[in-house]
Symmetry: C2
């Protein structure tokens, strides 16, 4: 059976209507609401064909049709028309990143919030993760009589700090020169780079302050490890409750439970490997609790090796068109901010 123009037109109408109303749509509704130029009976015949092709489904005998996953797939791949955001929406999204954002965490937080506000879906964002976390700067500074602070800046200007307890705090100047020495040795190294050789070199340099070696090394390790972890931000999870498909508390709870499992979210975002926008529909998501959801993901870049992902989660009946536009716009914004004003990144 061929998927002629009229069939496509009808399928599009069904999907658009269902996205808007969440109600199965019948032939009469289509005939009245959309200017298809044929009678409901004809539409009925076409719908019957579409159902045979697996693109739409009848929930029960005397109901209208709803799109199947296959139908959505066809829709997002070939039928969906992309639209521009309104100037107001663009401005809103832009205002979020243009504010005085001092920490990358806040930027992520705000971005997630903005997207979920605009779309009414749930947003998750992963902070940029460094492929190979190298140390950029290591510095010791005095805190008080019995404590000094270790500051570590990694590639990408992520800052970490650790307090080190000591018996007698070395002088400011001593700490500075120790810092410079450590720095010379560890700078540019990653965790696996730190071997016996580097440690020996450190031992030699820190002869006078041998008590510092161990805590410093430990802190450095911790830092690199943590920088290699994925940090997630989520916003608008409660929006799930606003969709009639999840008005059953047990369904909502199920999804929330899936959200709680960090691995789930990470794996969702990891699907966003390429820079393109990726769409997973229903069971294409490999998380059974989310079989009635769709996820749209993409990545944003922040320097060469550093990229994070954004994912938007909604019912399969989500507004794919809008979400894609929002994602594109927001990625543009974020990349701009991260490129032009890499101000105060931190973890």
């Amino acid at each position: 059976m061929a998927l002629n123009d009229r069939k496509i037109q009808i399928l599009k109408a069904i999907i658009n209507d269902y996205i808007a109303t969440a109600e199965p749509v019948g032939s009469r509704t289509l005939a009245k609401k959309y200017d298809l130029g044929v009678s409901s009976a004809t539409i009925r015949n076409e719908m019957s064909d579409l159902e045979d092709m697996g693109l739409i489904i009848q929930p029960h005998t005397s109901a209208g049709r709803i799109p199947s996953e296959l139908g959505y797939r066809l829709y997002v791949d070939r039928l969906m028309n992309t639209s521009e955001l309104t100037p107001k929406e663009q401005e809103f999204l832009h205002s979020v990143v243009s504010g005085n954002i001092t920490k990358i965490e806040y930027l992520m937080e705000e971005t997630a919030k903005a997207i979920s506000m605009l779309t009414n879906y749930t947003t998750i964002i992963s902070e940029p993760i460094l492929k190979r976390t190298a140390l950029k700067q290591i510095r010791l500074m005095p805190l008080d009589e019995s404590a000094i602070m270790l500051i570590i800046v990694t590639e990408g200007n992520f800052v970490k700090n650790h307090i080190i307890r000591v018996n007698i705090a070395p002088s400011d100047e001593d700490l500075f020169s120790v810092s410079v020495k450590i720095n010379n040795i560890l700078k540019g190294h990653t965790l696996e780079d730190i071997n016996e050789h580097t440690i020996m070199a450190l031992q030699k340099e820190l002869k006078e302050y041998s008590g510092l070696l161990k805590p410093v090394l430990k802190a450095v390790q911790k830092t690199i490890r943590s920088a290699e972890n994925v940090h997630l931000h989520m916003s608008g999870a409660k929006n799930i409750l606003t969709f009639p498909e999840f008005s059953d508390i047990s369904k909502a709870t199920e999804i929330f439970r899936a959200f709680e499992e960090k691995n789930n979210l990470v794996s969702l975002l990891e699907d966003a490997k390429s820079n393109d926008i990726r769409i997973l529909i229903g069971n294409e998501i490999n998380i059974k609790e989310m079989k009635d959801c769709s996820v749209i993901t993409t990545t944003y870049n922040m320097g060469e090796n550093t990229k994070g992902s954004i994912g938007i989660i909604g019912p399969t009946r989500m507004n794919y068109n809008q979400v894609v536009s929002v994602l594109n716009e927001m990625v543009k914004n974020i990349e701009n901010v991260l490129k032009t004003v890499p101000d105060g990144k931190n973890t």
Copy 2:
């Protein structure tokens, strides 16, 4: 009408039963389930009295009774027996804080998560807030050719950092000596302390690097301001959905909406002024969306002027007894950690 022993016994039984089952409890149930030594008819008479006294309520004519807010008030003030946590529970709570926690944010996050897991209620925690944020250390360090980083440590060892773009980055040594100079002038100062005099002094010291003055001052201001902000952590909001009193989606959504308003949560926690445990029941909470909830709050100390709060939110029918025990235990744990190993606090 006197509140004799038997009435108290019956009231306690009603409240305990209702907390456990969420079902209105009738005279027959009480007579069967609890060993009160009298018949259901007698209990009925007493219940009638308790209702006259406003301690219990009949949702409708042919239903059992449920506690009124007044009833709960009496219960938590005078009737409730406190119980110990099981060793297992204690161990669980302890394991949370004893892990390798490098940042105060994570400690808070984990604590909130643990409490809400154990109690099944929603937990909010405010990070310790400094009464008067003073600067402790200010340091500049090189990043690359055109950027240096400003590190600021405030009283309480909170660390902030800002990247400053420059045309030509001064040398490491120069930055060190500039740091020491700035430090000498600003150390110990709070925001309102920074006046023309200090700025003049800075201008003089930074003659050679006048381009640094403005960004440094701006960053310092930002830092202090942000440190004076309340940072909140919330966990287990979705637990709300598990209670039959909120099984109506619209009720749940209402509460979630209230949760979204940060001011609401802050004001809840601010009620926890004293070190004691405070309990707010139903309408005692001044947030109308939360009139069917109760909140139990307390504070924890971290050094003299630094204290944060923990709040647990559940239905009015919450397990006050358990929550109080958990809170007490957890505060003990947190204070221990913050006292003995004040390691790597950060904001």
